[in-house]
């Protein structure tokens, strides 16, 4: 019932086309049009980080990005994280270090950590705390999340 546009982008390494309403967010497009539900809605206003994805190498809250603005860009979501060795190591570290409780914030945390470590390999614990300050977690108290990211930062790739 609303105006739509057809767009094309690379999603987790795969060329993808989608027809989306012009007012739709990238988050809703991923979840409802493409059908990838690993990216989570938890606030819809860029305050919690649960919907974090990487767009052209930058981490963004997908709830604040229009779907139409994904046209011509390269997107990575949690479903594509493990294609990259760093993402795979992060996911394993989250499991091993007890960084997952209810798990709802976890995909966003992994995406943010992957983005951060790509640019800051070997980041310090303090830097990691800052790097995930835009990602809220209600279960863990963050300690084990930072443990997981720090373990990956310290390992040789």
């Amino acid at each position: 019932m609303s105006l739509t546009r057809e767009i094309g982008f690379v999603l987790n390494g795969v060329r993808t086309r989608a027809t989306v309403p012009v007012a739709m967010s990238a988050l809703d497009m991923l979840r409802e049009v493409v059908g990838l539900t690993g990216t989570k809605y938890a606030c819809g206003e860029g305050e919690c980080g649960a919907c974090t994805i990487v767009v052209d190498g930058r981490s963004l809250c997908s709830c604040l990005l229009f779907a139409v603005d994904c046209d011509g860009r390269e997107l990575t979501t949690i479903e594509g994280a493990e294609r990259d060795p760093l993402g795979a190591r992060l996911e394993q570290a989250f499991v091993d270090c007890g960084a997952v409780q209810c798990g709802f914030c976890t995909p966003g945390m992994v995406m943010q950590a992957q983005h951060w470590l790509q640019a800051h390999p070997g980041a310090s614990r303090d830097a990691i705390l800052r790097a995930i300050e835009g990602n809220l977690c209600r279960c863990t108290g963050y300690v084990k999340i930072v443990d997981a990211i720090e373990r990956v930062a310290r390992e040789a790739p």
Binding site: T37, C43, E47, V95, V100, C102, F104, T106, Y142
Partner: protein
């Protein structure tokens, strides 16, 4: 011959079974599920705090293309009251009593169409006088929120019983308070104010309701109490509970918020019934802030006395609970509050009273700690105040009055294990409490902008279930296939806390199989046996004992078969590493899989399938609130170190040292995570979180303005485990889920007082509040 060493996962760092799916984004929460033909629902809520509904016109909404149903109270005249107080209908017809009140609901092809339809519902209100102050609610002539409703409990006090806004009262007494007062050399007295906070589960509320062709109802629900909900839904809908199936997809956080039934749930079912289609209803975050429960706000006056020798003499506690517009679990938190007042320390004479009064404010549910944060906030501050008056250090004063193992308190709680004194000594020792406390006290008046201080608080909480319902039990079905793979079917719900992993560990311990040989099924009431729900820190203890019971029956069956075939006594055999072994030598006799197949494909033709129902040996409280309600009790002491910026009022949490009597550590990784998460949740309660309810209106329904603690703000944490090996606990363990959040606000208040000499009795300790208190103390 192969010799197999005994291996145990108990106390190890075991990764959660559900973590790989969650970390890779594969887990499908209720928000991620879609059923064929599904419609989307939205709810219209009141725009008034208190009003009569003159008319609701849904004709424009019904006419919108894509709308399948628009329901108001008039469309479901058979709906029945729901919730703890049975004092509200899911859809409100003639009157709204709070801003969250549900007036109409739409099911449509898309969420957008449903939202558009809501905007087309025309409601005419006639405002009624709002009542949004709990003290005013009990004044003569106050507007009456629920006419003709007697208070739910008590009514011993004529003043309370006589006012029509009283929702509930609680009275408890032990000893003779007058004698306690007479015996006191020092007395402290104060009012404490505890504010609204809310759960902020990262996964918002949601459900999917679906009827099949024969009228059976299936719910995909986030509830923490699936088996209680079957009954609740049946009562509201007037159908047989046996026709209701509740499936729990993985839950994006619970913390007590999903313990009651809330109006959105039956409304979603009404829409599914009206449309004949599956209906999915998911909140927005704003709606989650406005229409999910809060922690119970409390106004509390506490008076405590002690003798010169440092023994406590009496406590008198009066509390006023803002019940909000309706009664959910928040109003019943006195059950837990009075335990802390009467039994955290030995105190012979106690009088406790609560009045919960209706207002037009939001209503509170259960929230991790269930009243204990509120009671502990007052009790532990007065422990410091009394110690100071007596000239005794805070640690020695607490040790002087601490409970010991074996104690039966006047309230009837039996502390078969009690590590409170070890918790106090460990937390104080590891943090260097006494030296830091003395140094900070001496430096209170010294120059310097940033003051450092240290404070402690202890807690007592149920650690072996809580006998509130007719049964506090949990059922288990266990089966082992021909390849020695175990399926553990448990009633116990997983809400992220890691219970399914702990239950699997406990089964591994009994059956000598590796963790990856266990599948846990815990999410479907058509399959799982009954459990009362995930609350009261009970799942490891109750679900764990249930799982152990089923596993032991399986083990007995296996060993009997193995002994027959090996021609020896059962006691000579054991299960280790997926094998039957000689118990004495560890020598392998055969593999477990071979033994199981020989049992199955033989003349005996037996499968190993067992069941067990565990009911803890606890007792219901009597009418005077006395009784041993839990099979075990958990203890903890937390020491908090703060820095207070006296120019800005900013309080920084530097370090938390915790010592927890957990009975025994089962999964070290999991229990650390529970405690770290609880500490930070308690930090938020103390310092940053504040749901601002202004004349009935929630002013900050967003993470932008409701401040959860973020990663850079967390303190250093040093957590110690006191293992008292509870005789009734699974492998000696006690519950821990709620404990770590309970002491934080009290210990932080004590630390600020130690740093600055100023005692704060109102939460949260925001910079503005701290700054003003420091200025007014400075004159």
């Amino acid at each position: 011959m192969t010799v197999i060493a005994k291996e145990s996962l108990i106390g190890k760092r075991v990764a959660k079974l559900d973590a790989p799916e969650k970390a890779s984004g594969r887990t499908r929460y209720v928000h991620d599920l879609d059923l064929p033909g599904q419609l989307h629902a939205r709810i219209l809520r009141s725009s008034r705090v208190h009003a009569r509904i003159v008319s609701i016109d849904t004709s424009r909404a019904r006419a919108l293309p894509g709308v399948h149903a628009v329901l108001t109270a008039a469309d479901v005249p058979w709906q029945r009251p729901l919730g703890v107080g049975r004092d509200q209908l899911p859809l409100k017809g003639d009157r709204v009593r709070s801003l969250r009140d549900e007036i109409a609901a739409v099911a449509a092809e898309t969420v957008e169409i449903a939202e558009a339809a809501l905007r087309l519902v025309d409601v005419v209100y006639e405002d009624l006088p709002p009542l949004t102050d709990v003290r005013a609610a009990l004044a003569p002539g106050a507007p009456v929120i629920h006419e003709g409703r007697p208070p739910t409990k008590g009514a011993e006090r004529p003043d309370a019983a006589s006012h029509p806004n009283v929702a509930m009262t609680f009275d408890y007494a032990q000893g003779d308070v007058a004698a306690g007062e007479a015996a006191s050399d020092v007395v402290v007295d104060g009012w404490f104010r505890l504010h609204y906070v809310t759960h902020c589960c990262m996964g918002v509320s949601g459900m999917i309701a679906q009827f099949d062709a024969t009228g059976n109802l299936t719910l995909h629900s986030n509830t923490q109490v699936p088996f209680l909900h079957k009954r609740e839904f049946a009562e509201i809908l007037g159908i047989d509970p046996g026709r209701i199936r509740i499936i729990q997809p993985p839950i994006g956080g619970g913390f007590g918020s999903k313990l009651d039934i809330y109006p959105f749930e039956p409304i979603c079912v009404f829409l599914a019934k009206a449309t004949g289609r599956p209906v999915k209803l998911v909140f927005t975050r704003e709606e989650e802030f406005l229409a999910s429960p809060t922690r119970q706000p409390v106004l509390l006056r506490l008076t405590s006395g002690a003798r010169r020798d440092g023994t406590l003499t009496f406590r008198v506690c009066e509390t006023l609970h803002d019940n909000g517009a309706y009664t959910s679990w928040g109003a019943t938190t006195p059950f837990v509050m009075m335990q802390t007042i009467s039994s955290l320390y030995r105190v012979p004479h106690v009088r406790y009273h609560t009045t919960a009064a209706y207002t037009n404010n939001p209503y509170a549910g259960s929230f991790r700690g269930y009243g204990n944060l509120q009671a502990t906030f007052a009790v532990e501050q007065q422990m410091d105040e009394l110690a100071e008056k007596l000239g005794i250090d805070p640690l020695a004063f607490r040790l002087r009055n601490a409970q010991d193992p074996g104690e039966v308190t006047p309230q009837g709680m039996h502390f078969r294990t009690c590590g409170l004194k070890e918790c106090l000594a460990t937390a104080a020792g590891a943090s260097g409490f006494l030296a830091k406390h003395a140094a900070a006290r001496a430096a209170q008046r010294a120059p310097g902008r940033v003051k450092r201080g240290v404070g402690m608080a202890s807690m007592l909480h149920v650690g072996g279930g809580a006998k509130i319902y007719p049964s506090d039990g949990c059922g288990t079905i266990l089966k082992i296939d021909d390849f020695a793979h175990v399926t553990l079917i448990t009633g116990a719900s997983e809400i992220g806390q890691g219970s399914e992993t702990v239950l699997a560990q406990l089964v591994c311990e009994e059956l000598g199989v590796p963790l990856d040989a266990i599948t846990v099924v815990n999410n479907d009431t058509d399959i799982t046996p009954w459990d009362v729900g995930v609350h009261a820190s009970r799942t490891t203890f109750i679900g764990g004992n249930s799982a152990i019971g089923a596993a032991r029956k399986a083990k007995a069956k296996i060993l009997a078969a193995a002994a027959r075939s090996a021609g020896c006594a059962e006691a000579e055999l054991d299960l280790r590493g997926g094998h039957i072994v000689r118990a004495a030598s560890g020598e392998a006799v055969t593999t477990l899989a071979k033994l199981l197949r020989s049992l199955h494909f033989s003349d005996r033709a037996e499968l190993v399938m067992t069941t067990h129902y565990y009911e803890p040996p606890s007792r219901h409280q009597d009418a005077a609130y006395k009784g041993d309600v839990s099979a075990a009790y958990a203890w903890a002491t937390q020491v908090v170190e703060v820095e207070v910026d006296t120019d800005t009022g900013v309080v920084r949490l530097v370090k938390v040292t915790g010592a927890h009597d957990v009975g025994r550590v089962l999964n070290r990784l999991g229990i650390e995570g529970q405690i770290e998460g609880g500490i930070v949740m308690g930090q938020g309660y103390a310092l940053t979180e504040d749901l601002v309810v202004d004349h009935g209106v929630v002013r900050n329904p967003a993470f932008r303005d409701y401040k959860l603690v973020t990663a850079p703000e967390i303190p250093a944490m040093d957590v110690h485990f006191i293992e008292t090996m509870d005789g009734e606990g699974p492998q000696g363990a006690k519950g821990v889920g709620e404990a770590p959040a309970i002491c934080m606000a009290a210990a932080t208040a004590n630390a600020i007082a130690n740093a600055t000499g100023v005692r704060l009795r109102e939460l949260p300790f925001t910079p503005e509040k701290v700054y003003r208190a420091l200025r007014s103390a400075a004159g």
